[in-house]
Symmetry: C2
Subunit: 457 residues, 2 copies
Amino acid sequence: MDTRDTPSRIEIGRTTRIVALEAEDIRFPTSRGRIGSDAMNRDPDYSAVCITLRTDDASGLAGHALVFTIGRGNEVQAAAVHTLCALVERRGVSEVLDDLGGFARSLIHDSQLRWLGPEKGVMHMAIGGVVNAAWDMAARRAGLPLWRFIGELSPEQIVAAIDFRYLSDALAPDEALAMLRRAEHGRDKRITELLQRGYPAYTSSPGWLGYSDEKLAQLTRQAVADGFRTLKLKVGENLEDDRRRFTIARAAAGESIAIAVDANQRWDVAPAIEWIRALAPFRPAWIEEPTSPDDVLGHAAIRRAAAPVPISTGEHTHNRVMFKQLLQARAVDLLHIDATRVGGVNENLAILLLAAKFGVPVFPHAGGVGLCEMVQHLAMADFVAIGGSMEDRAIEYVDHLHEHFVDPVRIRDGRYLAPTAPGFSTEMREASLHGFAWPDGPAWRFNTPLPPGAGQG
Amino acid sequence: MDTRDTPSRIEIGRTTRIVALEAEDIRFPTSRGRIGSDAMNRDPDYSAVCITLRTDDASGLAGHALVFTIGRGNEVQAAAVHTLCALVERRGVSEVLDDLGGFARSLIHDSQLRWLGPEKGVMHMAIGGVVNAAWDMAARRAGLPLWRFIGELSPEQIVAAIDFRYLSDALAPDEALAMLRRAEHGRDKRITELLQRGYPAYTSSPGWLGYSDEKLAQLTRQAVADGFRTLKLKVGENLEDDRRRFTIARAAAGESIAIAVDANQRWDVAPAIEWIRALAPFRPAWIEEPTSPDDVLGHAAIRRAAAPVPISTGEHTHNRVMFKQLLQARAVDLLHIDATRVGGVNENLAILLLAAKFGVPVFPHAGGVGLCEMVQHLAMADFVAIGGSMEDRAIEYVDHLHEHFVDPVRIRDGRYLAPTAPGFSTEMREASLHGFAWPDGPAWRFNTPLPPGAGQG
C-alpha cells in the first residue's frame, strides 16, 4: 500500500459558506437485549444526535459528527445543537476551517450560552459535536482521514487549536509547543507504522452485567481467539457476582490476557477501597470509574489506599480543567477520553497533551454508537503527533452498531486498522438515519420504548 | 406580629395527582442597560424557565419554580424540563410531597438521563427546578413559607431528603443527623428572631462593570444609606480600572463598610494570585470566583498564595461532590450557593450541612431574576435548622426584577425580611409571564435581541 499517497484536496471558494446546521435524533433499541448494561446504566438505548454542517460548495462538502447519549433526553441534546445554528450558519467555510481554535472558542465562550455549563453537560457536548463536525469537514477538504490530518498539522497549528484558559498552571502554550516539536521527530515513520499495523484494541464486548455466565465465557474465548490481549468486565452490583464472573473470565481467557474492570461510578470512597481490595487478588489491569467522575480527591484517596491496583476514569470527565486536576492530584494511573463528552477535538488535543506531560497513558473510551469510529482518530493522532507511543495502551472496542456508518472501524487481530477515507468516520448511512429516527422511524413506530424508570431497582 | 401563628394546611385527597409539568421561556432584555455586566458576562438578558407543577386538587394547589439563565439557550433549558414530564406527570401528590428525597433521587438517578450530566449542566438544573417546584408545593400544602417549612422538619426528615451518595467520606447520614439534632436547640427562638429582625443582606447593585464611575459612587452612597454593611464590585477586566473603582467605592462607602470583589472566573491560577495581591491593599472582604468553578485545586493554590485575602466560589459549582472537594481541599474561606444551579433544595441542604461541618460560612448567590426570592429561604432555613448563625454572613441582594413576583423579597435596613406567605416565593405574576414570553411576548415583539457575540471583545 502506498502509505504516503497525495491527498485529493478540495479547493473551495472564498465565499463558500456554512448554510445549515442540522441535528437528527437517532435511537437504537439496545435495551431490549441488555446490551451495554452496567452497574449504573441498566437499560441504555444507544442514541445519538447526528450533526451535519452543510455548505454551498459545489463539491457537496459537508461535515458530520454525532453526540452520543443513552436514550431519554436525546431530544434535549438535539435542542442544544439547534441553538448553535445562530452562531454557525452563514459563517465562511474557510474562516471556520482555517481557524478551528477560534471557531471552538467562539462557541464555548459565547457570553450567554456559557451560563448553561460552563463547559459541561448538554451544552458543552452540543458544542463539542459541532466542533467535531467542523474537524470532519476540514479533514475531508484536505482529503485525509482525521488522524492523519491532525498528524500532519504543524506544532504551531495544534497549539493554536487549543484553549489554554485555566490550563497554564499545568501546561502553558510554550511548553506544549516544545513537546509537539520534539514529537515531530519520527512522525512519518509512525504514520507508516499505523498504516501497516494499526493500533491496539481492547474489548468490553464479553463483560456486560446483563449477560449470563455462559455468554461471558463464550464471548471471552471468542475475544481471545479474535486476537484481543485485554478485556474488560463490568462490576459493582454484587461482590460475589464479580468474583464469580472474574473467575469465569480468567479461566476462559487464560493467564496471559489482561482483564480490567469497570464500576461505572457505583461506589463511595470507602466502599470503593474495600471492593477494590477484594478484587485485587484477581489482578485487574485497572479499575475504571470507581466513584463519581467529579471526585478528583476521591479518586486520589482510592488510588493511594488501593495501590498497586491501577485506577482510572475519564469517560464522564467533562472538560480539560477536570483532567488537569486528575493529573495534578495523581488521582489516576490511566485516563479514558471520550470523543463526544468534552468540547470536541480541540479539547481532546489539550487533554492528550496534559496526559503526555504527566506520563499517564490514555485508553480511549468507546462502544455506544460511533464512539469507536471517532476515538480511533484521536488515539492515532496522539501516536503520530503528541505522545508517540501506542504499545502501552489500547482503544476500547465493542462490536455493536458499526454497520450504520459509511466508514466503519475495521478490526484485525485485536487492532484497529488505520482509517484511510477522508474525514472523522462520523457519517451515518442514510438508511440508518431514516430507520432509527426517533420517534417516527420504522424501528420505533411499532415498538414502545421502555417506560421511564423500568430499569431501576 | 404573631410569630407562631397556626399554618393553614391544605388537606389533599389520596388520589390527587400531578397532572401537568409546564415550562415557559421568559426573558428580560436587561442587556440594553448593561445590567448584570461583569468580566465574563457582558450582555446578559436575564431569563428563566418558569416551571409549574399542576395538580387536580380542588384547591388549585400547584408548585412553582424557575431555572435562571442569561438569555440564549433558555429554550434548551426549557426542553430539558419538558423531558421530565414523562417522569413526573400522573404521580400521586402525596407520594411526591411526603418523600421529597425519593422524588429527587428518582429524577437524578434516571438511568438514561444521567448520561446527560451526570449531575451537572442543563439536565441537572432542569431537575433542580422541578424538585424546587415540588418543595414549593409542599410548603404551600403546609401553609408555611419554605424556610419555615424546612425549619420545622425533624432531623430525620431532613436527612431523608438528602442524597448522601458520594458524600460519605466527608459527611455520613449519622453525623448529619447528630448535627441536626444539636441544632434543634433554640430553633423556635431563631424562628422568632428571623420574623422580628430578618437576615443580613449585602448588595452588588452598585458594582457592575458596565456602570460609569459616577453611577458607581452614587449607587455606593445610596447602598450605605439604605443600610447595607457589605457591597460587592465586579473586577477582572483591567487592573487599573479595578484600583480606580475600588478607590471610588471606598471613598463613597467609608472605612466601616466591607467591600468584596467578584472576578467571575476571569483568571488562570498565576494571574489570579498576582491580581489578588495587587488588590489586597484595598482590603477586599473576599475575592469571588477567581478562576474556573471546576478548579478545586486551583482555588486551593490561589488561597494559599494570596492569604490572608479570603477566597470564595460556588455560584457555578455544579453539585455537592464539587462543594465537598472545595471544603476538603480547604480551597475557600466562604461559599456561595445558588438556588437553581444544583439539584434543588435537597442538594442545597446537603451543601449547607457540609459547610456547617467544615465551619465555612455561606453567602448565598442572588441577583438575576428570582434568585433573591428563592435563596432567602435557604439561608433562613440554614439559620433555623442547620448552621444556627446569621451574623457572620449575608445574602446577596440586587434590586432588579422583583416586581415580576407575586411574593417579592422585602428589604429593610440592609436586611431581608422573613417571607410569611406559603411557599418558595417562586411564583411569577401572570402579566410578567405574558409580557416577557420569548420570542412572542410584547417585550420582544418589537425589539431585536442583541445578535450572538455582540458583547464579545
